[in-house]
Symmetry: C2
Subunit: 336 residues, 2 copies
């Protein structure tokens, strides 16, 4: 186990890398803690939850909604949860987003922590304090930015992770490499999914590298005024596709990264679009989708990253170096 602490925008966050679920008792008093998880995690790991107050939610992005928030709040009231309590989200990004959001607004804020159980949550969703819910087709339309007090990693949860969830996680790992870390990009090109799934030590190292990469970006820009925006590479179009076509988050941003790489070729002179696309393909991610352009555009126009007539888009200049550029909707419409 390795412990690392950071202060992000005045809030302290401690990571426990390569830790163990049983350590949770040293971080939170079971009598003053409510664990929030989903049916999948609970079914596979029921015995770990013994002796804890639990709220078990239906699994899936479809439940990242206000209705679920209402139901969590109702259960917190039943459990007589007061301000002295800690909430701990144990699951993928949907669970950590919901837990962080509820903990930020229930009684105007409780202490909270995460045990991310998916690769995607480990390397991305659990980091940076963004939380929130979807409203209709608009992803994360409602939420706030607040950091968890702690993140405890126990890679035992990866043993029960479905194949598709490994693929999902690699979409964000490839994103990190493409925008910030050319050496990581080359490492990924030299390996594949099976390699990281078999070599636990390599997976561990890969996760820690990605956590620290994202954390450094967030540290330098906690409220997303500058560099943090680069983490949205592939996400602008990706989010517009995701809820409408029932793609997983990884699939959606993989398609988003494909388009953004091609767009970069024409707008910044980026020469490695083929390598980005080949790497996505190597990690079994989709790089093409048929979609209804009008429908996707109507969602793009509500994107949080837009001003009235233009949208900010993350482009690549070279591998490991991304830039943030305004594009007019007209230009984007023609190019897509």
């Amino acid at each position: 186990m390795q412990k690392r602490s950071f202060t992000i925008n005045g809030e302290s966050v401690t990571y426990y890398f390569a830790g163990c679920f049983s350590m949770l008792r040293t971080l939170a008093d079971p009598a003053k803690t409510v664990l929030i998880t989903d049916e999948n995690v609970f079914r596979h790991h029921e015995k770990r939850f013994k002796g804890w107050n639990c709220i078990v939610l239906k699994a899936g992005e479809a439940y990242k909604t206000q209705e679920t928030v209402n139901s969590i709040i109702e259960q917190l009231v039943e459990l007589e949860t007061d301000r002295s309590f800690t909430l701990v989200g144990i699951g993928g990004g949907v669970i950590t987003d919901l837990t962080g959001y509820v903990a930020s607004v229930y009684m105007r804020g409780l202490r909270f922590g995460f045990i991310p159980t998916t690769l995607l949550a480990l390397v991305d969703a659990s980091i940076g304090g963004k939380n929130g819910i979807d409203v209709g087709v608009y992803k994360n339309l409602v939420g706030i930015i607040r950091q968890p007090d702690f993140l405890l990693h126990d890679l035992i949860f990866l043993n029960t992770l479905p194949d598709a969830e490994w693929v999902n996680g690699f979409a964000e790992i490839i994103k990190h490499a493409a925008i910030k870390d050319a050496a990581l990009f080359r490492e990924l090109e030299a390996n594949n999914l099976t390699y990281y799934r078999k070599k636990k030590k390599e997976a561990c190292r890969l996760i820690e590298r990605n956590v620290l990469l994202k954390t450094r970006v967030v540290l330098n820009d906690p409220t997303e005024k500058g560099d943090r925006k680069l983490l949205n590479f592939g996400h602008t179009l990706g989010h517009a596709l995701e809820n409408q076509y029932e793609l997983s988050h990884g699939e959606a941003i993989s398609i988003g990264m494909t388009y953004a790489s091609r767009l970069s070729a024409s707008l910044t002179g980026f020469r490695q679009a083929d390598r980005v696309i080949a790497l996505l393909d190597r990690y079994e991610l989709p790089t093409y989708a048929e979609y209804d352009k009008e429908r996707v555009f109507s969602v793009l126009k509500m994107d949080k990253k837009k001003s009235r007539d233009q949208i900010y888009f993350v482009l690549l200049e070279k591998l490991g170096k991304a830039v943030y550029r305004p594009l007019s909707f007209d230009h984007l419409y023609e190019t897509l």
Copy 2:
């Protein structure tokens, strides 16, 4: 017009005392602003809202709920509200609480300001950045603390304020005097409602004095770890009564202050309980209520200010000096 700026917990807040609604154009661009108000304010002042995007809500505490938040968010989406927008709440405490809350979570936070239109909102509800909604009988169970960018006072709105709303406002003014300002307490004893309603200049002075009193408390303790808790004088029991018995906020906390003053007599040796009760009575506030003790206690047990077996209660030591004390539920139950 007098302008005063403060920085509370890193957030800047500017008050425009004795200002004018028409100044709003200098604070927010109509093309990038949505005004949020209620039917009462809108009906009385419709012409002022011309040329602005407006969301008009049903009036009353019964609508300070998640359903109303959902409806505001839906309307913001329809108005294509993006992160460059400002929300302005124009109304009493329900409107400022709802506006501040929605502005804090929509797209993870928009700029917002208030034009408080009731005496209660002017001297209390609009100040300090607490916002939120009720959940069932639990007042303000959900919310966050975030400061408005500006507060614009235009006392023209007081001309259309019903009598009961004047009384409501004086409950918080008397609270401020009792916990922090013995000189103000004596001033209030020497005057009455009619005096302040007739003398606009005196009302103006009284409002500014109360705003600055509360602001100083909040400034010294933005996250309610210490002195700010004293502002809850009368509120613990008051909130438990308010939603259950359809009392106005002022009426409920007036009864709460009556009980807290009597409790102070037995717990701190406070000798002026009769003067507090006489002053509440002078400003036409109730000082007695029949209520179902069991029912009120079940709500008290969920109060945000409680730990498991005890509740923190604000008591008076003398006029202008309050203290914060833990009381066991058993003790409180016997005493009430």
